[in-house]
């Protein structure tokens, strides 16, 4: 029962199903309506659902994200699209100080069932202000659930699952994934969003990643296999809560781990994963956990420099190879 579609179509499939099945759901954000969405995720939805449910907003990230939070308090199930994580800094106060705290501060009197979607990541030569990977920041905040669908199936299913959550969920869609083709089962059941997935089994090293880096990591695993190294690839899927159990289980098996994360190295989500392995599997390790992250530089525009700044198949392969060799 699967169909071939792009990641962007999978997001649209999820949006459409949510809008059809629950009258409380609506989508709002900059250019989600007439323009069809900056990444064309919502193209066609305005015609089907009308301007009340597919709402174009002014350029007012703080106010419309806050309005999503308020509408959730008012009984709706808003999906707020912030065009990209870069602009979400303007709405961060609303997410951190309202969405994430209202339930706790009120002593449990209210829930905030809002879903905020945004594109993240670099790789499109958009330079320093448009290439951030700041999902790690959101994963730091108690009260939030943070998802990073890497596959087309997850792009659809995680959105639907997020809408069944009573608390705020932030979904990061890596901008390079939108054109990715893949099989999607549109009749899938609501899934558990809190578990990591082994995307490739292996015994020599665990490559831990998520979102836009999954493809590069799988490609690296193939190359490593040619070098006689069988890598297990773990897709985190949820960045908060982290599936620590799955991480430790895999690392305990392979005794080595490399974390691939497009965030800047210092203070990356990869650091947290490394620290958790330190705490939970130190005595199982044959070698220190390594990280492949972005260079510590505002992402530069030209392709050769941007490529050099971001994790690449070659750097993943090289890091894993060295790790395995040194501890062979």
């Amino acid at each position: 029962m699967t169909a071939t579609m792009t990641y962007r179509e999978a997001v649209r499939s999820g949006l459409r199903e949510a809008l059809r099945s629950d009258a409380r759901v609506f989508l709002m954000g900059e250019d989600v309506g007439r323009y069809g969405g900056a990444f064309a995720c919502s193209r066609g939805l305005l015609d089907e659902f009308g301007p009340e449910r597919i709402r174009d907003t002014p350029l007012s990230e703080s106010a419309f994200v806050g309005a999503g939070i308020g509408a959730a308090l008012g009984g709706m199930r808003p999906i707020v699209e912030v065009m990209t994580v870069n602009f979400s800094l303007l709405a961060l106060d609303q997410i951190v100080n309202n969405a994430a705290t209202l339930r706790h501060m009120s002593g449990g009197q209210m829930s905030v069932p809002v879903v905020v979607r945004m594109a993240t990541g670099g790789g499109r030569q958009l330079a320093a202000q448009h290439s951030h990977s700041l999902e790690g920041w959101y994963a730091h905040v108690p009260g939030l659930t943070v998802l990073a669908p890497a596959t087309n199936q997850d792009a659809r299913d995680m959105l639907l699952a997020a809408l069944t959550e009573p608390d705020p969920v932030i979904i990061f869609e890596h901008a390079m994934l939108y054109p990715q083709e893949g099989e999607v089962d549109e009749k899938s059941l609501p899934l558990d969003i809190r578990h990591a997935a082994v995307r490739r089994a292996g015994s020599d090293v665990t490559l831990i990643t998520y979102g836009g880096s999954l493809g590069k990591t799988l490609a690296a695993a193939e190359e490593l296999s040619g070098l006689g190294i069988e890598a297990e690839v773990l897709d985190l899927r949820a960045l908060r809560p982290l599936d620590s159990q799955a991480i430790l289980t895999s690392v305990t098996k392979t005794r080595r781990a490399v974390i691939i994360d497009e965030g800047w190295r210092t203070g990356s989500l990869a650091a947290e994963v490394s620290a958790q392995i330190m705490e939970g599997a130190f005595y199982e390790l044959d070698a220190p956990v390594a990280r492949v992250c972005s260079a510590e530089v505002p992402i530069p525009y030209p392709k050769h420099l941007e490529d050099a700044a971001l994790p690449q198949v070659a750097s993943i392969v090289e890091t894993a190879r060295q790790l395995c060799e040194k501890s062979a």
């Binding site: 106010a63 806050g66 309005a67 008012g74 709706m76 309202n98 002593g107 009573p166």
Partner: protein
């Protein structure tokens, strides 16, 4: 800058109603005087922002609303909460940090919540509540509910980008929200003319093609009448409104404030316009309040405050095992979630 003292006539003012207004203002005043005392006694901690001097705004506004309407408030919200009907005991217990507090003690003075009263909370980020109010109003509009969302904020909040974005959004979408600015002439220690280039706050409504007006924030009847009229206007589908209540805070910004930025004379001058004393005087003049009734009011208010303190004192502390409670909603079978 000072609004004029307008001796509004008291035409068909019903005694009970008048006394209710007076009593509530008095209750808030005494409640807060007690709170200040308890703060210095170490019973209340953190920040404590007193509303003393501004009581007419909350009391007048809340009396003009229905039980279905929604309130979004600030960190200076004891008065808003009590005027909305949140029990003074629950507010006091909250300030004690006890689990019988209106937010189970989690929030303290700046985060009073009572969803049943549709009181959507104190918010300690200046202007942080405006977008929430817009969202609540959007939910009402989308669901066809004839509710009004009233959003309180100070003159300082008007400086923030959220003010601008929220008013534009509300006006653009014709949402049923009343932006009620409590202009007490200071944002902490910064006087209005030193934080806003245009000091006529209500006039800013025009930048959003919104209706705006000012009201004497020291006159409970004037406020009640304004909010009554405006709420009806909003309920009729005419979109949002900006109401500026010109008022004054008699006390320091918070318990930490040494008040270096204003003179005693200015404060004294505003005290002449005390919303409680002047309203009581008007009621007396009109024969609606006799001395005996005034005394009884004071006694009953004192008793209510004492009860609130007793409830707070007697209230239990949240057990330590509950530290992580209510960070997330526990999922229930229907996927809707519920509290622990």
């Amino acid at each position: 800058m000072m609004a004029e003292v307008t001796a509004t006539a008291l035409p068909d003012l019903n005694v009970e109603h008048a006394v209710a207004l007076l009593r509530q203002m008095l209750l808030i005043r005494r409640f807060e005087e007690k709170s200040a005392e308890l703060y210095t006694l170490g019973k209340i901690h953190g920040f404590l922002h007193l509303y003393i001097g501004e009581e007419a705004v909350a009391v007048g506004a809340m009396h003009a609303l229905t039980a279905d309407d929604e309130i979004v408030s600030t960190y200076r919200e004891h008065g808003h909460a009590i005027a909305r009907g949140v029990s003074p005991a629950a507010v006091m217990a909250e300030m004690y940090g006890k689990s019988n507090g209106c937010s189970r003690g989690r929030g303290g003075s700046m985060h009073l919540f009572d969803v049943e009263k549709r009181f959507f909370g104190g918010n300690a980020i200046v202007a942080g509540g405006l977008p929430l109010a817009v969202g609540l109003a959007l939910a009402n509009k989308l669901q066809g509910r004839a509710r009004v969302t009233v959003c309180f904020f100070g003159d300082g909040a008007v400086d923030e980008g959220e003010f601008h974005e929220s008013l534009n959004l509300a006006a653009l979408w014709k949402l049923p929200v009343l932006f009620l600015c409590e202009n007490n002439l200071y944002a902490m220690g910064t006087g209005l003319e030193r934080h806003q280039s245009q000091t006529d706050i209500q006039a800013k409504a025009q930048a959003y093609a919104m209706q705006g007006e000012a009201v004497d924030g020291m006159d409970v009847l004037a406020i009640e009448a304004s909010v009554n009229r405006i709420a009806e206007h909003i309920r009729d589908g005419n979109g949002p409104y900006l109401l500026e209540a010109r008022t004054y805070r008699y006390r320091a910004h918070s318990m930490y404030d040494p008040e270096l930025y204003r003179g005693k004379a200015e404060v004294e001058q505003w005290k002449q316009r005390c919303p409680i004393e002047n309203f009581a005087a008007r009621l007396r003049e009109s024969g609606l309040l006799v001395e005996e009734a005034w005394k009884q009011l004071n006694t009953s208010v004192a008793a209510e405050v004492a009860e609130a303190v007793a409830a707070a004192e007697a209230g239990p502390w949240e057990p330590l095992e509950h530290l992580l409670k209510d960070v997330h909603t526990l999922a229930t079978a229907d996927g809707r979630g519920d509290s622990l």
